[in-house]
């Protein structure tokens, strides 16, 4: 999976979650903060973490959790751990 595909997959997931939580479409951007800009909650973030691990076959340590706050940041983190995996 290349960087663009990873980002698109994450965009789709966030899109689903945000729509269900009634977030206005214009607030859903790659750099928007999940909590401060989109109003998602910590449960949604946990789901994002779990889904990314499952979908991309990576193991992301709990210490990274505070970094997973935007689509851009999530994609970066996934790429980092995919690269480490080799």
């Amino acid at each position: 999976m290349d960087a663009a595909e990873i980002k698109e997959a994450i965009r789709q997931l966030i899109g689903e979650i945000a729509e269900d939580m009634d977030v206005e479409a214009e607030k859903i951007t790659d750099s928007a903060h999940f909590i401060k800009d989109m109003g998602l909650d910590s449960m949604a973030l946990l789901e994002v973490l779990a889904t990314m691990e499952k979908k991309f076959g990576v193991s992301i340590p709990e210490s990274e959790f505070p970094n997973l706050i935007s689509i851009d940041k999530c994609a970066e983190t996934v790429e980092k751990y995919l690269a480490q995996k080799g």
């Binding site: 269900d20 449960m43 779990a50 499952k54």
Partner: protein
């Protein structure tokens, strides 16, 4: 404390018969609608299992599209039932005045519980969606209802198997009588799930001929169903203050336990006691009961026990068994029976079991429809294979009769 009798001022239901109480009233006597359950996300039945499905509504159409993504079927069934019946009342209430919510359910969302475990076994612990964990507690559907309607006053779940819904109604009445709250939306919920159906199949309680014949001489088990029936239960004073006309009064109730009922054996001692105690609580004699909505479901020993107990206490009082119409819905069964009884009471009739099979001699079991004079008492029973016995006595209320009555109310 307020020992005056609580009343029911609104009702809502979703079952295989349809969605809404008007639909129930119109179609109660129609031929029962059976579907089947076969394939699930993690498991599959080699042969589909006939059951009464409550797929008579579209969750998105009733609830809107938002906020349902991580909610399971049981939760959607409860929310839709509540939306149809009580949305306006919740919205019109201030925070401190919001009705509480009390749901009876035998299994909660056992589909979610079993799937959570199955997912962890098949895909590994680290593949499981954390959001799915919230659905594995039995009070999850209730909690979701409290969140949706912003009700902070009460959120309770009661889980006494077949009796769960009846016991939830009683919990609500007790809570109101203690003076804690004036209004509670109470009732029962049960979903069809792979895990519960599998349990029923392995235990041998399902009818191999896919028929549910309450009190039938050839009854060979039951057909499972799913549904939800909820009621606005409130103190008589609260109903009067809000100008809400009661549909019925909850005149009396009792619950008991039968230690000798176990592993397919049924004893009627506590059942008899329970029915008599409910009459005492209602301040009436057995002869005052107009008809009895039994919990009979085609398990021959259980039906025979209830038939004998009814015979002993009531003699020839007409008996019906609404489970013939919507299946064995566990925690939702008794509240659905209450909803059916309200529909019948309002129409001045008793909808009995369907024609076409022979019922036990000893019982005055209504077939098809019979006429019934309004204004009287109806008994709803729930006697379970675990030994739980619950009986509720409700009274039909004509508007005129209610108005005469409520001026005499006292509370202390």
């Amino acid at each position: 404390m307020n020992m005056n009798k609580p009343v029911i001022t609104a009702a809502s239901q979703i079952s295989s018969i349809g969605a809404g109480v008007d639909c129930l009233a119109a179609n109660l006597g129609a031929a029962p609608r059976m579907g089947s359950a076969g394939k699930y996300d993690f498991h599959e039945f080699s042969e589909p299992i006939p059951c009464f499905k409550a797929d008579t509504f579209d969750p998105e159409q009733v609830l809107g599209k938002k906020g349902l993504r991580t909610k399971d079927w049981a939760t959607k069934l409860l929310l839709a039932t509540m939306e149809l019946g009580f949305k306006a009342q919740f919205e019109a209430s201030s925070q401190d005045d919001k009705p509480g919510i009390c749901v009876g359910t035998a299994f909660g969302s056992v589909q979610s519980i079993g799937d959570f475990l199955s997912d962890s076994i098949v895909n590994g612990v680290n593949a499981v969606n954390p959001q799915a964990f919230a659905n594995t507690v039995i009070n999850s559907p209730t909690g979701n209802a409290n969140i949706r309607y912003e009700s902070r006053t009460l959120s309770t779940t009661v889980s006494t198997g077949f009796n769960a819904g009846a016991d939830a109604l009683i919990y609500a009445c007790d809570y109101i009588r203690r003076g804690y709250l004036n209004r509670i939306v109470a009732g029962g919920l049960e979903e069809i799930s792979y895990y519960a159906l599998l349990g029923m199949l392995r235990s041998g309680v399902l009818s191999p001929t896919s028929r549910i014949l309450p009190f039938g001489t050839l009854a060979d088990g039951f057909v499972a169903g799913e549904g939800c029936a909820m009621f606005m239960v409130e103190s008589a004073e609260s109903a009067a203050a809000g100008s809400r006309t009661p549909l019925a009064e909850i005149s009396g109730y009792a619950s008991a336990f039968e230690p000798s009922t176990f592993a397919g054996k049924f004893c009627g001692e506590s059942a008899r006691h329970c029915m008599k105690a409910a009459c005492d609580d209602a301040g009436i004699r057995p002869a005052d009961v107009g008809f009895i909505a039994s919990g009979a479901n085609g398990i021959r020993n259980a039906d025979a026990m209830e038939a004998q107990a009814i015979r002993d206490v009531f003699g020839d009082t007409p008996v019906t068994a609404y489970k013939a119409r919507f299946g064995e819905c566990y925690g939702a069964s008794a509240p659905l029976s209450v909803a059916c009884a309200l529909a019948d009471m309002n129409a001045g009739r008793i909808t009995g079991v369907p024609e076409g099979y022979e019922t036990i001699d000893a019982l005055n079991c209504v077939r098809g429809t019979a006429a019934w004079k309004r204004g009287g008492f109806v008994m709803v029973n729930s006697f379970s294979c675990d030994g739980n016995c619950t009986t509720i006595v409700i009274k039909d209320i004509h508007e005129a009769a209610y108005n005469r009555q409520h001026t005499k109310l006292q509370s202390y």
